[in-house]
Structure formats: structure tokens, C-alpha cells
Symmetry: C2
Subunit: 350 residues, 2 copies
Amino acid sequence: MTEKLNVVPFVSVDHMMKLVLAVGVERFLTELSAYVEEDFLRWEQFDKTPRIASHSHDGVIELMPTSDGHLYGFKYVNGHPKNTRDGRQTVTAFGVLADVGNGYPMLLTEMTILTALRTAATSAVAAKYLAPKGADTMAIIGNGAQSEFQALAFKALLGVNKLRLYDIDASASQKCQANLAGMGFDIVISDNAQDAVEGAQIITTVTADKQLATILTDNMVGTGVHINAVGGDCPGKTELHRDILLRSDIFVEFPPQTRIEGEIQQLPADHPVIELWQVMAGKAQGRSSSAQVTLFDSVGFAIEDFSALRYVRDKLIDTGLFEELDLLADPDEPRDLFGMLLRAAKASAI
Amino acid sequence: MTEKLNVVPFVSVDHMMKLVLAVGVERFLTELSAYVEEDFLRWEQFDKTPRIASHSHDGVIELMPTSDGHLYGFKYVNGHPKNTRDGRQTVTAFGVLADVGNGYPMLLTEMTILTALRTAATSAVAAKYLAPKGADTMAIIGNGAQSEFQALAFKALLGVNKLRLYDIDASASQKCQANLAGMGFDIVISDNAQDAVEGAQIITTVTADKQLATILTDNMVGTGVHINAVGGDCPGKTELHRDILLRSDIFVEFPPQTRIEGEIQQLPADHPVIELWQVMAGKAQGRSSSAQVTLFDSVGFAIEDFSALRYVRDKLIDTGLFEELDLLADPDEPRDLFGMLLRAAKASAI
């Protein structure tokens, strides 16, 4: 993209929005899903580690690195549920893609918007393998920042066009409905979660409280349903009643991380789970019957961010939607970092 | 610094050079040393973890996070010894300081130059506690990118004004001498390491080869010397002969990391070492006799980067040497990330 060694392409929030709009939200989600799927299919090539979390009273700051041996990516992301009280986002993020061969960063990008997109894309990829055939109705419990992205990803990848929304704050559901107006959905707002799940073959839970909550109780989940559990994603934060887990087949991203952060933190450490990548690679079975309850216990894994960074990097070449950031010191002679400083002094004295 | 929630102050390489020059290199090193010392004195308050390394054939990419409960900092840094062959830096770095309370980044800065400064500052702080009283002569073995910074830090903090330089590449020594001309040093270039250490009370080793090397052999190290071993800083990379370690008192930053990366990777895992912060806090003895050989087995720890990030952040307020980076999505209504996208589409259509 550039020959200047000091320069790293930077995608600001403004450029990310322009990129998403230029590509189109649904096409962006579809193309991004293909990158996610490609990387899940070569899962064993990646360096994998549970994210490195720094917990505090009000939230968590995490670093999520991974590498396929050629590229290295990491994301910085925070989770602070109380942030909305003073007008801040609960989750903000940015990330970097780098060249493993020389260690130089190749891309710095906002990832608040990109994380919403990759989370939705990953949910839809999982549902492609796990949801009942012909599913066209999804309940979304929790209608915050992630809800519209989930809806559009499921429409783009699975053809879901009926939504049943519920949020403890009715204005969130109204916001979600208004944002999705004219995008081809038939939308019903429900008064409670029980109503919302009625007739839905897919149930997406995506609430934001940092606590052990019970968004779904056992009696609300009928046979044959696919549950896309997105909101429970850190220690002490779950959304589903334990009994639901006990009668579901549970699919996860990276078990060592999900055991700590996912819905399965409620279960013994040896409770059987199936790795999603193995289903995609044909090494494990996904949905095997129409009566089976499948649960994607999603917590978000570094490889999904890696896929998103790769996708954005590839998209930049055509669109030019980036700035050049003077991030790397680049002395004429690599061992002469101090000399670069001296020459800067001389230049500014002229 | 700013009330705009989406904006993060960014210090480019150019701004970092201007900042260092505006403050003055020696004053910068002195003030930065005070921040390092302040943070070492409250060592127990920090979340500490060995850096998270991703090793490859040609080098390593590392993330170095830490937090004191109020601020969170991390550095991205690579180490690729072969990079100089195609005009790149062996080490490049950038870092972020964030607010633990809301998880929002408060500063993004280049750290290639800043790492050179913080490494030198930390070396000089250690020597303040460990070097023989009145030391004015330092040998520097390895005259690459870090050498001038080491020299100036030891001048600023300890009054070292005689340098004895050696590098396997004589042009590196000449570059170092030329860069330090007129800065108050008496400089001798030596033909070999043996000559260089002659009469030096402090020996700094700062070579870059990624291998087990023997820059110093046992017979070259006289009684009473302080060794500042900076170059050995990753698994399989050391600079000192094992026998030197066996007759030195060894001081380290964070033992779990130094055992993996430092000179002491040559020794059994239970070989006694002393934590530098304990010496500074008066909980452990530093230099106890004039005959003692002291060794600071420096590998670089996240808290030093944290100190550097704090210092730069504090300096920005007066100097204004930063740009504003549109890094964080900031919808009017925090739960309405998708609506922000819709409004951007509407705005661009007008």
C-alpha cells in the first residue's frame, strides 16, 4: 500500500463507516463471514491463547492476540457496562495487523464498529451449520448496539426475515425496529422474553449486564431451537438458565476461553462441548436432528478479529479509505536512532 | 485534554522527536527516570505478567500490559535482528495508556524512540543504586541504536563522562562517537571488548544478535564493577559468560520474566536474584562492598513502559505536541451504534 517504512495505514471511525457504507452492510457481513469461515477451517495453524484480561471494579480491558505464522493480529477491547451512564460505549475497540516476518504493523484500525460486524458475522456462520433448515424467524433478546448487526447478518447468510424483539427497556426495541425499517424485515416488539421466543427457530441473547442473569428460563426453549448466546462473555456474566445448557448440544469457539467466560462457566469443567471449527471442517457433527437444541456459546475469539483485520486490510487497497500514520521510527541507518533525533534538531533550527 | 469522546491524543514519531528536543534529551531522561523510580517504589500495586510473546523464525512480537488499578498501559514491540538488512529497525514499538474506570484509551504513541529512552533511564536508575560510588567511566559493548541513550542517561543521573566504545562493526562505534560529539564526553574507541572494559567501573552490554553469545568472558570482569546487561532479552539470547553470573549479585526487574529472557536463563531456576524495586524501597541490599560485582540483568518490563506512557501523557498538556485521532466510535446514544452508521449514510447522501 505504501513504500514508506515509517507509515502505517490507519482506519478511523469515520473511514470505517464510509467503508461499510461503500461496500453495503449486508455484503460486508457476507464477505467478512467468508474470511471468518476460511480462518476457522485452518484453525490448527493459529497460535491460540485465552485473551489477556485486566479486570477492575467497573469492567475489563483485554488484549486478544493471535497469529497464523504469516500475519499477527491483536485487538484491544474494553467492557464497562456502566459506561452508557455518561454517554460512553460499553465496548470500544481498536486493532492492529502486523507482518510476522519483520514485526512491522501493517494496519491500525478502529474496531468498535468492526467488532459488532465480526461478532454478528461469526454468529451467522455458526447458525449456518447449527440452526434448523429453513429457519426464517429470530427472537432477539437485548436490543442494544449489537442487535441490528445480528439481524442483518442472519438475513444475509440464512435468509432470516422475521424478527421478534424484546428488551427490558422498550425504547431500545423501538430504536432497533426504527433502524431496520425498510430493510426487508417483518418485526414484532414483544412485552416479555416469553412472547418474543414464540415461533422463533433461532433465539439470540445479547444483553449487556455484567452479572449472572437469567434471560431465558428452561420452559421458554422449545425443541429444535438454535440458541445464539452472545451476551454472556466474561467471568460472572451469563444469560441462560443452567437447565437449558444441560439439554443442549453446546458449540464453542476456543474451549479454554469459553470455560472461563461463556455460559458453560455454570457447568463442570469437563462438561462436553464441541468446537465449532470441527463442525465446519467435517470433523464433528453439527445439528443431527430436528428436535435437538443447539447452543452456540459465543464469547468472541481472537481469530475472528484476525479475520476482520485481514478483510479490512484487503478492502483498503481498492477504496483508499485510510490515512497514513507516522507510527514507526525510520532512521536512514537503522542503528542510528539517535542520529535521527540530531538531524531533526538541525532541521528545526534552520 | 479534550472533551470529544471519540478522540485519542496521538504522538507520532515526528512529535516524539519534537517533544524530546523541546524538553532536552538529558532532562527528558532525568524526568523519565523519576517516573520509573516512582513506579518501582509502588511495585506491589501493579498487575504484573510476563510479556505475551509470539515467536517466529525471524523474531518475536510482544504485548506488554500492566495496570496500577487507575491507569492501564500496554506496549506492542517487535524484535527482528535481521531487519537491518532491508533498512528496517530491529525493534519498533508503540503503546497505549488507558483509563481503567471506563476502558477508554487516553494516549496512543510511537514507542520506538520512547523505548530507547525508557530502557536507558531504567539502566541508569538501577546503576544509581548498584554502581560503585563516584563511577565516571563506562564501557559500552555494542554501539547500535541504544548506545547513545545509555551514555546520556548515565551522564545525566550518575555523572559518567568517560566512554570506552566497542562494536564488532567499527563504523557503529564511529557513529556513536560522532553523535555524542560536543556533549561533554571523553570518548575512546577500542579494538576489542577486553580493551574497552579497561578502567571502566560500569560495563554496559547492548548487542543485538539473537543467539547465545559471549560478549564478556569471566577474566574481563574485574572486582567492584557494575554490569548493565541490556542486550540479552529473549529466550536463547544472552551476552555474558555463565561464570560471570556465578560471581555476581544479580538484580532483576520481574523474576518470572527474567528467568525466561535474561542472562539468568543460563542458570538453574532457583538461583538467587534480587528484585530491583526491593533495593529501591530499602527492603533488600544493593551494593554492599567495593569488591562486589553487581549485575543488572535487564530485559525490560511493562512497568517501565507504563512510566514512560505516564510521563509523555503529562508532558503533552503543556507542549501540545500531538494529533487528535478519531479512534473511538461515539454515537449520540451509546446503544445506537447502527444508527450512527445510518446517519453517516444520510449525511454523505446530502
